[in-house]
């Protein structure tokens, strides 16, 4: 996986928190998506949303629990359908497979449609080192590529950029007159990317679902760039991760009812492509186009074998948890430093990366549970956050000072006399700080720390019981 910045989570958060214009943009965008989602659920979905979620949850649960079965099934189906298939253990295996393919096709120009897994793998940087020209074709991804940044949201990669930022970026990188009109910027991108498409040797895309029963590759999109990526070049490489399998086509159609609604509030996206078999290259030849599917593991099969953690892989990558998360809304996706930001990223990243470096992500949450509530496949996201915190303590990854404090605390609560003595001292001193609150380093910078009350709960309880008794005796 890419060199990640999750180590610097706290530093990044601080930086992003002070960026007011970023916050305005992120809030506006996430609220917009949430509002559209809610409206669509209310007005346009004939089934009960909760029942749909329940169905989706059970589809994902069965798939992940029996993943090896469906994996073998889809492998057989791919070969039956004439689709080449590779299982890649880690990122470098993906890069090698792609590299070999591109060399054997003497490819130079590569067009890509959105695939988060290729971000995880760091494919673009790798291919560029070998001299391939890789162009992202989803508008958001194209913007990010021009800016040399990472996506800040899994379904809306350029969500953190304002129209004027994009305007300046286009005018600088593409040598055009400045404009911040979204329709003009989109039109420029269309013209430039159309040429790239027509000259492309190879297309690389992700996939939303892979159907075990039929070997169908399902790709969901709005712009048409994925359709061009899979149709125009001779070779189409699908790169996604091992958990994208679903048992049957009707299962895929159920998940398809939830995915676009959850991510953009659309009932269905503009385009859904179902690919079963390669097509003829053109109508004059009997040559077939080639389709190659690469599935990345990168630690996922280990997650699948863990009964408590496997629900993380139910995810269908809709991004709703990011939109809903009060933390994401404040800091945006880049603050997480990970490829997958927001709540789902915080529970996935530590298990795929160095746990020690990315465990802090699980603390960047208020544990309010909004993510679990909105998740269309009912992942227990906030419990998973707690699991990471628990594991982190068990593995003694907590900061030195925290360990010391808890050791002392343990000794205090173990001894009644010391506990009582200390609480009496605090109650005695309490009134002195009643107005200002206690000054605790770091904490008091952001929040008020209430001073101790003038008597302890223990004393209050005794007094209360006494009054109650007196009252009863009257």
């Amino acid at each position: 996986m890419n060199e990640l910045d999750t180590k610097y989570f706290k530093k990044l958060v601080k930086e992003k928190l002070s960026d007011k214009s970023l916050r305005t943009i992120v809030k506006k965008a996430t609220f917009h998506s949430l509002q559209k989602r809610n409206e669509t659920i209310q007005n346009d979905i004939s089934e009960k949303w909760e029942q749909l979620r329940e169905k989706a949850y059970s589809i994902r649960k069965i798939t992940i629990e029996n993943w090896d079965y469906y994996f073998n099934q889809i492998k057989a189906k791919f070969s039956e359908n004439g689709i080449d298939f590779f299982y890649a253990k880690n990122s470098s295996e993906v890069c090698d497979i792609v590299n070999n393919l591109l060399f054997s096709y003497k490819a130079k120009n590569i067009v890509k449609s959105k695939s988060m897994v290729t971000e995880e793998v760091g494919l673009n940087e790798y291919l560029e080192k070998f001299g391939f020209i890789v162009t992202e074709t989803d508008l958001g991804e194209y913007i990010i590529q021009l800016a040399n940044e990472r996506p800040s949201h899994i379904t809306a990669p350029a969500l953190h950029k304002s129209r004027s930022e994009i305007g300046f970026l286009f005018s600088e990188k593409l040598n055009i007159d400045y404009t911040d009109a979204p329709e003009k910027l989109t039109d420029y991108a269309r013209q430039i990317l159309r040429k790239k498409f027509l000259n492309a040797d190879v297309g690389i895309s992700g996939a939303n679902f892979l159907v075990a029963e039929t070997g169908t590759i399902v790709i969901v999109e709005n712009e048409g760039n994925a359709r061009l990526t899979i149709t125009l070049p001779k070779l189409h490489i699908v790169i996604t991760s091992i958990e994208k399998i679903v048992p049957t086509l009707s299962d895929a159609l159920i998940l398809l009812r939830l995915l676009p609604v959850s991510s953009t509030g659309q009932k269905i996206t503009s385009y859904v492509s179902f690919i079963n078999k390669p097509e003829e290259e053109d109508n004059s030849s009997k040559n077939l186009k080639k389709i190659v599917v690469i599935l990345l593991d990168n630690g996922r099969s280990k997650l699948i074998s863990d009964k408590k953690l496997r629900s993380i892989l139910y995810c269908i990558k809709c991004g709703a948890c990011m939109n809903k998360c009060p933390v994401y809304q404040l800091i945006g996706g880049h603050a997480y430093g990970s490829v997958y930001p927001g709540p789902i990223g915080s529970i996935l990243t530590p298990w795929l990366n160095s746990f020690k470096d990315s465990k802090d992500l699980a603390y960047g949450s208020s544990l309010c549970g909004a993510c679990s509530e909105i998740c269309p496949v009912k992942i227990d996201i906030h419990y998973q956050l707690l699991r990471i915190r628990k594991y982190s303590i068990e593995k003694k990854f907590s900061p030195f000072i925290e360990k010391i404090i808890f050791k002392i605390w343990l000794q205090i609560v173990k001894n009644y006399k010391i506990y009582n003595l200390l609480s009496n001292i605090l109650c005695f001193l309490g009134p002195l700080f009643q107005e200002t609150g206690l000054k605790i380093p770091v904490w008091s910078k952001y929040k008020y720390f209430p001073a101790p009350f003038e008597f302890s709960f223990h004393k209050w309880w005794q007094r209360e019981v006494k009054t109650q008794e007196e009252y009863a005796n009257v």
């Binding site: 809306a156 979204p182 712009e223 269905i268």
Partner: protein, 185 residues
């Protein structure tokens, strides 16, 4: 759902996604509609899937009444030409649908020699022909076709993006406009 209800539902849904829908009793009316569209959008070159009674009749009628360049997919096939090259300067592609989905206002196209996938994708405008008998209630009703064809594309409205500050723009990499003609005798 009755046929009329299906048409009504389809129409309602496709409007929501910025598509358009016209219902015709006969081919002549549709020709007038296409002609006014050609004029309005300054169309110069048309490619049409002509492997069907309705589309062939439209093709011949258009050939007869306009002096635009109008090609049929079958002609290209016979000449063994590359569809990609042929489509480069086509601004209106006329497709023929397998199904229309009432629930979502979607068009279901299966790829074939007569309906190359690029026909509904590369040109700026896309007109999709169909009859009222082809309207199904839900996408699930097309599941057997999705299972058996090489590839199936479900199209719902024109191509769109909201990647810049969530402002909706129609017409990104695919068609700017999608118009569905339903023939209902």
């Amino acid at each position: 759902m009755s046929k009329d209800n299906l048409i009504e539902r389809f129409n309602k849904e496709i409007i929501k996604v910025n598509g358009e829908c016209f219902v015709f009793k006969n081919i002549d009316d549709s020709i007038t509609q296409i002609q006014s569209f050609i004029e309005k959008e300054k169309i110069k070159k048309i490619l049409i899937n002509d492997k069907n009674e309705i589309s062939r009749s439209i093709y011949v009628n258009l050939k007869r009444t306009t002096d635009l360049i109008i090609q049929a997919v079958s002609e290209i096939n016979i000449k063994n030409k590359d569809i990609k090259e042929e489509l480069k300067d086509v601004d209106l592609g006329i497709s023929y649908a397998n199904f229309l989905v009432a629930d979502t206002g979607s068009v279901v196209l299966t790829s074939s020699e007569d309906e190359p996938r690029l026909l509904s994708l590369l040109p700026e405008f896309n007109i999709v022909l169909s009859t009222s008998n082809q309207i199904i209630e839900k996408l699930e009703d097309a599941i057997d076709v999705i299972k058996t064809e090489k590839s199936v594309t479900v199209i719902t409205g024109p191509s769109r993006t909201a990647d810049i500050e969530k402002v909706l723009i129609t017409g990104v990499h695919g068609p700017k406009k999608l118009i569905v003609f339903i023939f209902d005798k």
